[in-house]
Symmetry: C2
DNA sequence: GGTATTTGATAAGACGTCTTGTCGGAATTA
DNA sequence: TAATTCCGACAAGACGTCTTATCAAATACC
């Protein structure tokens, strides 16, 4: 029985591309957005609670009340979901840092303390955020590592730009501060990992004070090296 | 045909526990050691070249000329092999750091520069070592992360002990330097990751100078904070 | 020389997850 | 009301790896 190919529907209902219908009173796009939001929320909770590696798609879908098919319409893979979540986390972190950096401060020391405090408090404010951003995205894949390192670069660049401002204000010797900035971000990241995994971590304020003090010490020491060896070193590559 | 159970061999040839025979002129224990060494060497090369995640046991065995059965006699899993390799790497790193720290130096500044230089040069001397120790062990599993953090703690403890020596010599204000030490190790680690993944990294000496300078700045700054806020802070927990 | 052990190689089962496909039913538009 | 689209649930194939079992050949002991 030669069954002829089904006739092409008249209005090209590709499902994904065209002519999506309202359902339950909400537009197709909005429904997709809601699913996406639910998935991101579930991922935020489940990835933080039991780890990314131990959270199968099935569980994410169940928690978010989304079917597997819809999941794959929104994300190519579980890792893509993690990447989207991480991007959101890092975007918020950068916004927080930027606004804190631009706020007025009586003196440079106070600015450092304030920025460190507000950024850290924001990051740790939602425990899930820090846990995912610091611990869970680590080592997932080569692509994810690249993304993570790019995020570190982003934050480091904020620091570097601020240091360059201080150079222009003659508070610091002119120099390429790129690597130092990266090291600072790496150090803070390590301290956060420490804090997150410690059995009975101290108050977050202890950590914040420690970080702020470290930054101050670094700045004080750097200012003392005005005529040092590498002060006029050429700009580093390592992009 | 009821085949009776095979009689227990008289001398308890458990294979693993007792009475192993010589073969090819070498003792059983030595044969196992050689297999173990070959596996560790192959792991060092393959994990560094193509990554831990993309190196199946089969390939390790083929490269090391060891069969899967022997692999499982020596290691419980692929991760156990990575752990053994990592332990070896970290042990060597600590030895290097310890001997560099105990060497005589004309002044404290020179000591820092020398220690940083020799440790870094050792670590990067074999590119496979740094790549595995810095990049590949990351995020493999919860157990592996714990091991990695323990290794960071170990190196940080060396730094901390050295700083406490300087406190006793009145070169630094008394204080708990544990978290700062951890942050320094984290920062260096991040710089190494940066260096290892950069498309065209600079000479390693550039990185070493940068790290040494950072340590100097940190020390100078810390010394300037003799009467600071957290100077007499109680010892942190976070074990 | 005969028997037992070790070895190397292959094969096959197990495992957990991803990914896609199908189905009836619900909601919507015409 | 009829046709269409969307939803939720289930299931089955695919995939890659781990892990164990089997077997013949090489080697050592008696």
């Amino acid at each position: 029985m030669p069954k002829t190919a089904p006739p092409d529907p008249p209005s090209a209902p590709d499902g994904a591309t065209a002519a999506r219908r309202r359902y339950g009173g909400v537009a197709a796009e909005q429904r997709a957005d809601e699913r996406r939001t639910r998935l991101l929320d579930s991922a935020m909770t489940l990835f933080a609670a039991q780890g990314y590696a131990r959270t199968p798609i099935e569980q994410l879908c169940a928690d978010a009340r989304v079917t597997a098919r819809h999941f794959y319409e929104l994300f190519d893979s579980r890792e893509a979901l993690l990447a989207a979540l991480y991007d959101r986390i890092i975007d918020e972190l950068n916004s927080e840092a930027l606004s804190a950096l631009q706020a007025a401060a009586p003196n440079p020391q106070a600015l450092v303390t304030r920025v460190v405090g507000s950024v850290m408090r924001h990051y740790v404010g939602d425990a899930r955020r820090a846990r995912i951003g610091v611990l869970e995205v680590v080592g997932v894949s080569a692509a994810m590592e690249q993304r993570r390192r790019a995020a570190i670069h982003g934050v480091a660049r904020l620091i570097e730009q601020h240091l360059n401002q201080r150079v222009r204000a003659d508070e610091l010797p002119p120099r390429n501060y790129r690597l130092i900035s990266i090291a600072v971000v790496g150090g803070i990241n390590e301290l956060l990992a420490e804090w997150l995994t410690a059995p009975n971590p101290p108050q977050i304020d202890v950590l914040i004070d420690e970080i702020a003090l470290m930054c101050q010490a670094l700045l004080t020491g750097a200012a003392a090296f005005a005529g040092s060896t590498a002060a006029a070193a050429p700009p580093h590559s390592m992009p």
